[in-house]
């Protein structure tokens, strides 16, 4: 009985893992395929990676993706953090309202946000391009930053800022020397979440980018009809980047935690 129970639970576990990761493993394996076939592995080669970097449009897509992600991350992190700090000091009703509004874009289907942005830019007569896609990315990243920073702020002792002030710090110094260091961990997680959100966004980017700018997601989508293993190679790179970021987000606090506990022992 016990044996069967164990068998079922481990089978369930492996099936789930397989279901989650088989597509990714498949993509990674075939990115190293020698032939153009997407179904038969004929031999190892790096030619698709080579082709990938030879293609100007792919290089451009990678460049725009990173540029947009980096700028959107920096700006949304700054705005989101300051908003969260401001909200924590404001009255309860205003805070509740703003936080509710903050949740809406995250629960909204992307397509609704995307169409909203497109209509807004069109009706304002703004030419779609790098500026518009950046604005869109910044705005959909901010809620994630607020949501990650807010809980940490709530744990923060109100008196810390006051203690800094009575020790002669200016309000700006109290913010930078006392409040921000307390929030460092949550600000970094917020920024990394913003980065991955921006990095792999397709729907909103597609509707706000215009013809001149395309990021990786848009490029992959537009080349889907003449699909070839360069997409596999590109996907592999993305998987590696996103996985790395996720590992940093999750593992660094764990190491840090162990380190501080290590000192205590």
């Amino acid at each position: 009985m016990k044996f069967i129970k164990k068998l079922v639970s481990s089978a369930y576990f492996w099936l789930t893992m397989l279901f989650f990761y088989l597509p990714i493993i498949y993509v990674i394996v075939f990115s190293f395929n020698e032939s153009k076939s997407l179904t038969r592995f004929t031999g190892f080669s790096l030619q698709w990676y080579q082709k990938l970097f030879e293609s100007r449009s792919i290089r451009e897509a990678i460049y725009y993706t990173l540029l947009i992600a980096v700028i959107a991350t920096i700006i949304s992190t700054i705005i989101g953090t300051l908003t969260a700090i401001g909200l924590s000091k404001s009255n309860k009703i205003l805070r509740a309202i703003v936080l509710q509004i903050n949740d809406i874009p995250m629960m909204n289907p992307d397509i609704v946000t995307a169409i909203g942005f497109m209509l807004l830019f069109t009706s304002l007569g703004v030419d779609k391009g790098l500026g518009t896609i950046l604005l869109a990315h910044i705005s959909f990243c901010i809620p994630y930053v607020i949501l990650t920073v807010m809980p940490r702020l709530r744990q923060l002792d109100d008196n810390l800022a006051e203690a800094a002030l009575d020790l002669g710090a200016t309000p700006l110094q109290a913010l930078t020397k006392v409040i921000i260091p307390q929030l460092k961990g949550s600000i970094i997680s917020g920024a990394l979440i913003a980065f991955t959100m921006s990095f792999d966004d397709f729907v909103i980017s597609f509707f706000t980018s215009g013809p001149k700018v395309s990021n990786i997601a848009i490029y992959v989508y537009s080349s889907i009809k003449r699909i070839n293993p360069t997409i596999n190679a590109l996907s592999t790179i993305i998987v590696v980047i996103v996985t790395t970021v996720l590992i940093i987000v999750n593992v660094v606090p764990m190491i840090k935690d162990r380190k501080t506990r290590g000192i205590e022992e």
Binding site: N159, E162, A163, L167, G168, A169, Q173, T260
Partner: protein
């Protein structure tokens, strides 16, 4: 440089909700001054107005001759110790202590010298490289004090600094605080709701209730001659009993329900007329006696070594119930005798020490016994 504090007609209001209607007081240079009162009495609010963390809706606040109403907290040159210490969790003990000096841009030598001096003073030098999370409550308290004092503030403000410590540490730290305050010679405004703590550390105490000062005075004066019934029942334990004041042949007689007649010679002249009064007798001001006094029966006793506490019930004279003491019985403290503890059920008489006892008007607003010293009226309070 330590300075005195002067507050004239302070008003604190949140919208229409007036928390402090009109409050004046003065703290002398170098004085250990305590704001004491139940929670919600406005003591912390007043302290935060002095610190600059609360807005001031009316009145004038002075440090020495300087009006500070509109000065930022950073410019008031105050040291503040918070209830939860507010030690910066991301800085070591030493960096915490240096924080204020860095903002003041003192020279490196001065910073090192002063930091060391105050860490030594507070006995925290050995923890200087530790992070705050690895300090005990008492150690954090010492860091908070060192951090507040190292900047040589004009006044030191402390908001219930001991309430998060356990009983033993609390007693230890209050001695430390008092000693350091004397050593540094700094004006200190201290907020607490613990009357024993207040009495043990303060030069003077302001007892507050509902945003108003009830009594300002030395701990001894406040304890022995409280200005009104609130102060009498808030400071220390006390038995409150209804009685009648009768003037016969120019003598004041305080008559209890069972006819016990206490002749008093220290009633204020202007109060020498027949009236209902409330007698406040502390447990040590009531003596078990055979010859005279209120008729009563011992209900219970607790032997505590040096003293024995008796709970004594009278058929006719019941104690007034208060928040602190919800009991008809008299509470007495007697020095333990070498003979037997008086057994429960024994009929006794309760003599009241008339030279010590306090007598209040029926509404409790005034002590009608001579000798009340209340500095409250020196500063323009009504």
């Amino acid at each position: 440089m330590s300075v005195g504090i002067k507050i004239n007609h302070a008003v604190k209001a949140y919208g229409d909700n007036v928390v402090i209607p009109d409050l004046s007081l003065e703290v002398e240079d170098g004085e250990f001054f305590t704001l004491l009162g139940p929670s919600g009495c406005g003591k912390t609010t007043l302290l935060r107005m002095i610190a600059g963390f609360n807005s001031i809706e009316g009145g004038d606040f002075y440090f020495g001759d300087k009006r500070i109403n509109n000065l930022d907290p950073a410019k008031r040159n105050i040291g503040m110790v918070f209830q939860n210490y507010a030690i910066f969790p991301h800085l070591t003990v030493e960096k915490n202590v240096q924080f204020g000096l860095k903002n003041r841009k003192v020279s490196k030598e001065e910073m090192e010298r002063d930091t060391k001096q105050f860490m030594d003073l507070m006995h925290i030098t050995e923890y200087k490289d530790r992070m705050p999370e690895r300090l005990s409550g008492g150690q954090q308290q010492r860091v908070a004090l060192a951090r507040a004092l190292v900047i040589k503030p004009d006044v030191l403000l402390m908001d219930e600094p001991l309430s998060n410590l356990d009983a033993k540490l609390r007693v230890e730290m209050r001695t430390v605080i008092k000693q350091i305050q004397r050593e540094v010679g700094i004006t200190n405004v201290y907020v607490t709701h613990d009357q024993e703590e207040a009495m043990s550390v303060s030069d003077r105490i302001a007892v507050m209730n509902l945003g108003e000062i009830q009594h300002i005075g030395k701990p001894k004066d406040i304890y022995q001659r409280p200005a009104n019934l609130f102060v009498a029942s808030f400071i220390g334990r006390t038995n409150l009993v209804n009685a009648k004041l009768e003037i016969r042949d120019g003598e004041a007689h305080v008559v209890f329900a069972d006819g016990y007649d206490l002749v008093m010679d220290n009633i204020l002249p202007e109060e020498m007329h027949d009236q209902d009064v409330i007698v406040a007798a502390r447990p040590e001001e009531v003596v078990i006696n055979a010859e005279e006094g209120i008729h009563a029966k011992v209900d219970d006793s607790v032997f505590l070594g040096l003293n024995t506490h008796y709970y004594v019930l009278s058929d006719q004279v019941h104690c007034i119930h208060t928040e602190d003491k919800d009991d008809d019985r008299f509470e007495l403290i007697q020095e333990s005798m070498i003979d037997e503890i008086i057994p429960n059920g024994t009929e006794v008489r309760l003599r009241i020490k008339k030279e010590k006892v306090n007598v209040f008007t029926a509404d409790g607003s005034k002590n009608i016994v001579k000798g009340v010293k209340n500095d409250k009226y020196l500063y323009g309070n009504d």
